[in-house]
């Protein structure tokens, strides 16, 4: 079956700013694979708007994005969203190779 285009809702957790993905049951996950798939943009927008109205404590600035969904994989369409899903593509901290302590 060819990959289908779906929509999901994403934001950032208020507590630590980490990337958040809305599950189908309305809770929020840190893994994009757990995001609840929606059929179209208006549905995603409406859910994001509800979250803005009711879930300020949990989530900052939620919005909908389009994704390829195939089997268990959810793949965003843009580089920005892929990086949000997978983390920075560069080393996270400086190697202290010269320091021997």
């Amino acid at each position: 079956m060819p990959p289908a285009n779906r929509w999901i809702v994403t934001g950032n957790f208020t507590d630590d700013g980490a990337v958040a993905w809305r599950r189908a049951d309305g809770t929020w996950s840190r893994q994009i694979a757990e995001a609840g798939l929606l059929s179209d943009e208006p549905t995603a927008k409406a859910l994001a708007a509800t979250a803005i109205a009711n879930e300020q404590r949990e989530i900052c600035d939620p919005y909908g994005i389009e994704v390829h969904a195939s089997g268990d994989t959810i793949d965003p369409l843009t580089a920005r969203q892929r990086i949000r899903a997978n983390g920075p593509t560069v080393p996270l901290r400086r190697p202290d190779s010269g320091l021997s302590r």
Binding site: A18, V19, R84, T89, P91, R94, G98, L99
Partner: protein, 560 residues
């Protein structure tokens, strides 16, 4: 450096307390993210792709070793063990938790630091020359005036909701502007008039971003005592008349162009005449009080450096010799030198320093430089007051910390913004490019041969990497959902200010570093002599030879 008194301390501890209240109201849901956003921005707290980001203010880049140790502690305790030096002489943390930020601010306040107004539509960090106070070509130390402007702008009630951010830079070396004042919203040069009086030349409306622009002089000579009242009038005209309908047309440079320099000046002078009071004048006593904080340290009486430096440069240790040539700068006091610590090295995003490195650097500053350190807008560090005789020992210590690279001002001293790996505003990644450049050109001989050249990379048009004023500038763009890069040449931020010109069509990520190499190859083949720097060659021969080097082969092939 400036010594806080009780007033200064109370100001930042009250601010930290105020923000603690705002955070708890956010976490309790009493205020929404929309209402909280401008508040957290005015305390330097961004929301980026993966996390919050806290930008700590380092006024004109100057740090004490005590402060550096605290920055290391914060990286360790609240973040992921490192921090990032920015292109405006600040430092930022990429992974703080919202609930921890009030404690971070308390920890900063305990060493007289803060994150006030490092973001938001307000007056930001006042930046300056990273060799302020030591440069032989300096007319007068700009740092007291930076500090006076900092205090004036901190929690200024009238200018906390400007149309857009506002950046001020001050230089005290009229012959070589290392603070890029012509590319700031307000740029200030300390000058001397015909009567040998010192005052300020005031430049307004410079900037980068979507519409890069070199600032215009609106006041050729402003007597010192009028500094704050005059700057205030500029801000007021901007606050009242700057555009608020379009975020991309809201900087003061747009207003200056729209009104014309003469009309803009007229409005400033009109407001200044109507609103300046005797109280707003800077009394000599206050200038003296603040200047005293920047009095020279207890320099020893030493012989001049020249012979020693020459000996180092030509000595057996070629790495050390290169380091002396590239990273060590002249000092106005005989026997002393300024040292650039390059934090740039292969595998490390430019500007990143670890907590252990920061702790070690604090010790180095104590032992070699009266406990002082300066963050540069090229994302490096400066030890301002090192005894020339101690350079060999210092170099050895820095090498043991992975901080001894002899590439200051050279090809691999890249400056770059965080880009799409971190930043919510970016269109393309910038750090991978800088890593590839650092890796590919990590040969000392090649670096020295190519000589002085600045590569500046921005991941989007906001230009936080200052790509417009790089000798080689790279701008990441989004083309049909893919990352592409525009290459430009010929930018310069100083007195010879120029905005880089795009060379040709945007290049894919796997082609851009090749293109840089081709440009450098062309430079090496057409320069008049090894003494002709990259920028000079570009200005002499024009863009065509470089364009051909990068794009020309395709055309030739097609013609065949």
């Amino acid at each position: 450096m400036y010594q806080y008194d009780d007033y200064d301390r109370r100001i930042i501890t009250e601010r930290a307390h105020q923000f603690r209240g705002q955070v708890s109201r956010r976490l309790s849901g009493e205020i929404t993210e929309e209402e909280f956003k401008p508040l957290r921005l005015q305390n330097g707290l961004y929301m980026q792709l993966h996390a919050y980001m806290l930008r700590v203010a380092i006024p004109y880049g100057l740090l004490s070793s005590t402060q550096v140790r605290q920055l290391a502690h914060i990286a360790r305790k609240y973040d992921r063990g490192y921090a990032h030096l920015t292109t405006r002489q600040n430092i930022q943390y990429n992974w703080p938790k919202l609930g921890d930020v009030p404690s971070i601010l308390d920890d900063l306040a305990s060493v007289e630091m803060h994150a006030v107004q490092t973001s938001g539509n307000c007056v930001r960090n006042i930046t300056s020359d990273h060799f302020a106070g030591i440069a032989p070509d300096e007319l007068e130390d700009p740092r007291p005036y930076c500090e006076l402007l900092r205090q004036w702008s901190t929690f200024h009630p009238e200018f906390a909701n400007l149309p857009r951010k506002f950046k001020i830079a001050v230089t005290g070396a009229p012959g070589d502007d290392r603070a890029a004042v012509r590319f700031h919203d307000i740029g200030i040069r300390i000058v001397e008039n015909a009567a040998k009086e010192r005052g300020f030349e005031v430049i307004v409306g410079g900037g980068l971003g979507r519409t890069p622009h070199i600032g215009a002089v609106i006041r050729e000579f402003l007597p010192k005592r009028h500094l704050l009242s005059y700057i205030e009038s500029i801000l007021r005209v901007y606050n009242l008349h700057g555009r608020r309908d379009n975020k991309y047309k809201a900087r003061i440079k747009i207003l200056v162009v729209a009104l014309g320099v003469d009309e803009f000046r007229r409005r400033v002078e009109e407001d200044w005449e109507a609103s300046r009071t005797p109280e707003l004048e800077l009394p000599d006593s206050e200038v003296a009080r603040v200047s005293a904080c920047f009095a020279p340290p207890r320099y020893e009486s030493l012989p001049a450096s020249a012979t020693q430096l020459a000996g180092f440069a030509l000595g057996q240790d070629r790495e050390f010799g290169s380091w002396v040539k590239n990273n060590v700068v002249g000092h106005k006091v005989p026997g002393y030198s300024g040292v650039v610590i390059s934090v740039k090295m292969p595998g490390v995003p430019p500007g990143d320093v670890s907590d252990t490195q920061l702790d070690s650097i604090a010790g180095v500053a104590d032992r070699y430089s009266f406990g002082h350190l300066v963050v540069t807008h090229t994302q490096n560090l400066v030890l301002p007051d090192v005894k020339t005789s101690e350079l060999p020992r210092l170099h050895a210590e820095l090498c043991a910390l992975d901080l001894g690279k002899a590439n200051a001002g050279k090809l691999t001293d890249v400056i770059t913004c965080p880009g799409l790996d971190y930043c919510d505003l970016a269109n393309a990644r910038s750090i991978p490019l800088s890593l590839e450049i650092a890796e590919r050109f990590d040969r000392l001989d090649y670096l020295n041969d190519v000589g002085d050249v600045s590569i500046k990379i921005s991941g989007c048009i906001n230009a936080c990497g200052h790509h417009h004023v790089g000798n080689i500038g790279i701008l990441g763009i989004d083309k049909r959902g893919e990352e592409f890069y525009q290459l430009m040449l010929g930018g310069s931020p100083g007195n010879d200010a120029s905005i880089g010109k795009i060379l040709g069509a945007a290049l894919a990520q796997d082609a851009i570093v090749d293109a840089v190499e081709k440009v450098l190859g062309r430079y090496l083949s057409v320069r008049e002599s090894p003494d002709e720097r990259f920028l000079e060659t570009v200005r002499r021969v024009g863009f065509e030879p470089f364009k051909q080097a990068v794009y020309g082969e395709t055309t030739e092939t097609a013609a065949e």
